[in-house]
Symmetry: C2
Subunit: 347 residues, 2 copies
């Protein structure tokens, strides 16, 4: 589409000849001609999972299909941690937040005596092991309060540019799942808009999602804090504070999809019990009855290439979801069985 | 772009011949060739305002321009009431809300003795005249609480299909501004994403914005309420409650753009003091310094064709904004002077 837009602009401005437009047309024809021979999901092993994804996209985009979805209604929602990139042994944003707290300890002397910050500052492993979700959101809030979104994004981008995964010794942005990158691209090539709906914060995810996944900031939804606007010395600023706006996990993901997207997704992908409501929103909303819908869990079954975990982990636990999946017709993406490669660098 | 996509799909499925693709290519060439002779803003009188809008779009989309903006960063934000459609003599959603309260009075006996509902039910004009913004948000909350977004959208669509403006005797969706429809289309034809950032609710605006403006639900931001998720009998539902999530007016519009869009808009259009923070976000954010930005008020100067109001109205008051505009370089779109027609039916 860019080519065509670019072609039009060149022609309009008189900088190009009809020949340039013919070149564009030829490229266009070449693209059409080669399309049928291209596997949209080359990193997926042949099997029921790959076939189900391809069938969904074909059924929803083929004119005349009973499941045809107008382009404007093609929405697919994706969890981030454990669905699009590696979340073990610890959620990446938790590590970033820990480093923000350590870096900010000097400026926040109260943290030295205050849990959960004290546990991190003292590197008290026994206390760290006890930290709850509430503790995590308190840490997130503390590290966002007072900052603009641009400041947090810059800090996250700087951190992601140098911090490596303890096992793979790779940047975290290298530990995205190649098969899921292909799913994102395949959906988008067929007119779908792809959204991230994550328990992480938009500021953190927006710092890398456009480059890593091709997902623009306005399609990133996450756990968020309230903010305030100031206009001083002719500068407009919005700074977060510590009040929670939305905890985008569990039922919060269903609320978020309704609120931010305003449509029932055709497809939802997650990997943990925190994604159940998000998957159910795609398949079991009242509007879901109108036509086919799809939901899938990325099931972490590959200890050799990544990690194997489901019911017995505190990071990305998939327990109730494993029982619900067969009952609600959700697909289990068996990482070990379904994926030829896990990470892009394996190719 | 659709043509090209459709062309590709036909070719892939073996239903078309190379001839079909050549037809598509010919149409494409014809489109390019005719483009330079098309005025993108035919309902605008020639003058500084029209020239400024065209210059902005050209400067931000011409490759090599110092103000060139990559396609993914082309964001334009628009207020709705008074900027994209008629808001006088009363905001449309206020009238819808009043009718919802009257229709719901039997089911909500408490409303009969409780302000602000009592004033509406009794049609007490003296009390109605005294209703404040807080009263309005209380009415909005009460008419959303307990409903799904789909239910509110359906009610709004049904109401908009039959309710007419008291002066023009037209459906409200006929009272959109033709010149602004052209601005929306012109921006989008040049790769911009257009967002609504409104004091109204997303449910109400989403009920008509895609058809009336070409703006999809996921690009509609508004005053919003918290919601809760339930999953009973295999049905996933999200119902609003009466707690405010965001009042998307005044400083709330700057917070909303930061939160929902996650980028600084290249252009913002409003019409009242409630849009000042939204316009300042476009022109006076730290990121605004990187390249040209644009902000404009629709200035209601045409009592004959629409309404004339600015400093002395309680609906869409433009007072501080009139003083700020010259100081911050914002454009005043003088409806009487700049617009050839106001509404589509005048064409």
């Amino acid at each position: 589409m860019n080519l065509r837009i670019r072609g039009c602009v060149l022609w309009q401005r008189g900088a190009a000849t009809p020949f340039a437009a013919l070149v564009v047309a030829a490229l266009f024809l070449a693209g059409c001609a080669s399309a049928p021979f291209t596997d949209p999901l080359p990193s997926w092993n042949e099997g029921a999972t790959k076939a189900a994804i391809i069938k969904l996209v074909q059924d929803t985009t083929r004119p005349g299909s009973p499941d045809f979805v107008p382009a404007s209604e093609r929405i697919a929602t994706f969890d981030n941690d454990g669905t699009l990139w590696c979340e073990h042994p610890v959620y990446v944003e938790v590590l970033f937040t820990r480093d923000r707290i350590l870096a900010g300890a000097a400026q926040n002397p109260a943290w030295r005596t205050q849990m959960p910050f004290k546990a991190l500052i003292d590197n008290d492993q026994a206390e760290i092991a006890k930290l709850s979700g509430t503790d995590y959101f308190a840490m997130l809030a503390a590290t966002h309060a007072g900052y603009t979104s641009a400041e947090v994004r810059k800090a996250a981008a700087d951190w992601l540019a140098v911090t490596r995964h303890p096992r793979f010794n790779r940047l975290y942005t290298e530990l995205v799942y190649q098969p899921m990158l292909e799913v994102l691209a395949y959906f988008r090539a067929n007119g779908y808009k792809t959204f991230i709906v994550s328990g992480g914060t938009p500021e953190f995810i927006r710092s890398f999602a456009e480059k890593a996944y091709g997902i623009p900031p306005e399609q990133v939804i996450g756990t968020s804090f309230m903010a305030s606007y100031t206009f001083d010395n002719n500068v407009a600023l919005v700074r977060s504070d510590a009040r929670v706006l939305l905890i985008d996990d569990g039922p919060g993901k269903a609320v978020a999809i309704d609120h931010y997207v305003g449509r029932v997704p055709i497809a939802s992908f997650g990997n943990s019990d925190g994604d159940i409501a998000m998957l159910a929103t795609a398949t079991n909303s009242p509007a879901s009855r109108e036509r086919t819908r799809f939901a899938a869990f990325v099931w972490h079954t590959d200890a050799a290439r990544e990690y194997a975990y489901d019911r017995d982990t505190s990071v990305g636990r998939l327990n109730q979801g494993l029982d619900l999946a067969p009952r609600l017709g959700w697909t289990l993406i068996d990482m070990k069985r379904d994926w030829k490669v896990v990470f892009p660098f394996e190719k």
